[in-house]
């Protein structure tokens, strides 16, 4: 169908970036792919009114964040898979590997909303305003979720930071 051309182009151009976002939102590759696939199917079905790549991008990103939040709300059906093996072999200095494992576990203990806000603010580098728009909540909520998320992370990752500083290694 002719109208599929735009959609196919959109997926080719944007799926790598969208997959990165989805993987960080879910915490692992498999769930990230599932999440993105679901979102893309919805975008495909609504393509007749999305048309432009900008609208489509916004629509898909919104589905990614809102559905990852509602997945988690719905209960333990899907869990933050910290115990799963990473998809790629983690390499590098032992300290860096340990750092990542600790960070991943610490993120796993946050609420889904806090995780989503942190990903949007510090991976996507969205402003507080943009994050609020995407999530459909107030700037105040973004601020409080961000600071609560960071505080919780600091409590758990803090030890590691101190170890590193003592060891003088990085």
């Amino acid at each position: 169908v002719g109208s599929d051309v735009g959609f196919v182009e959109f997926v080719h151009a944007r799926s790598a970036a969208l997959l990165r976002l989805a993987v960080l939102l879910t915490g692992n590759r498999q769930d990230g792919e599932d999440l993105l696939q679901t979102a893309l199917v919805k975008a495909y079905r609504s393509w007749w009114r999305l048309r432009s790549p900008e609208l489509a991008e916004r629509y898909v990103r919104r589905i990614l964040v809102t559905s990852v939040i509602s997945w988690r709300r719905r209960g333990a059906a899907r869990e933050w898979a910290t115990d799963r093996l990473p998809d790629r072999q983690v390499s590098g200095p032992a300290a860096a590997v340990a750092d990542r494992v600790v960070m991943r576990q610490a993120l796993g203990l946050l609420s889904p909303g806090q995780r989503a806000v942190l990903v949007l603010r510090f991976f996507e580098d969205l402003s507080e305003r943009q994050t609020a728009d995407l999530l459909g909540c107030s700037v105040g909520t973004v601020k409080s979720q961000t600071s609560r998320g960071l505080a919780a992370l600091r409590r758990r990752v803090g030890d590691l930071v101190e170890d590193e500083q003592v060891g003088g290694e990085k």
Binding site: L24, Y44, R45, R100, M103, L118, F122, G136, Q145, L153
Partner: protein, 146 residues
């Protein structure tokens, strides 16, 4: 400080992440869904057309003689409620003595109207039969607050 570490962590987690080609799966699933939606709509339109024709025929037949509507009958005709707003559809069906069940179909337009009904409009069924209304739940809705 922590913000920086978080940035680094995020980037190292997805560095070199190779994209999977999701397109074939997406297109296949999307086309299946489109077909389903088309069948629903076609069914709904056909049902509406049948109801209209049946209604007109009923009028013209009934016109000459006294109406025979108030005989206690073992069957009742299901009114057509497709495209009606949900409360109105529920009221109409309840008034005619039907039980109403509402099912939502996600991913369609945010019409909040009946997009399909079963049994179809004009079907003769036992009074009190449950009529299932499929209503559009709209596209993905906002999360409230994260």
């Amino acid at each position: 400080m922590l913000e920086e570490r978080l940035r680094e962590y995020y980037h190292s987690e997805v560095a070199g992440l190779e994209a999977t080609d999701l397109l074939p799966g997406v297109l296949a699933a999307g086309r299946r869904a489109r077909r389903r939606a088309r069948v629903l709509w076609t069914g709904a339109l056909a049902a509406a057309a049948v109801a209209l024709v049946a209604g007109l025929a009923g009028l013209s037949v009934r016109a000459p003689g006294p109406p025979a509507m108030h005989q206690p009958s073992a069957s009742a005709a299901v009114p057509g409620v497709v495209m009606m707003a949900v409360p109105a559809a529920e009221r109409l069906l309840a008034h005619d003595g039907f039980t109403v069940k509402v099912a939502r179909e996600a991913g369609l337009e945010p019409l909040r109207r009946v997009i399909f009904q079963h049994p179809a409009a004009g079907s003769r069924v036992r009074p009190g039969t449950t009529v299932t209304l499929v209503i559009s739940a709209g596209p993905v809705t906002g999360p409230g607050s994260p």
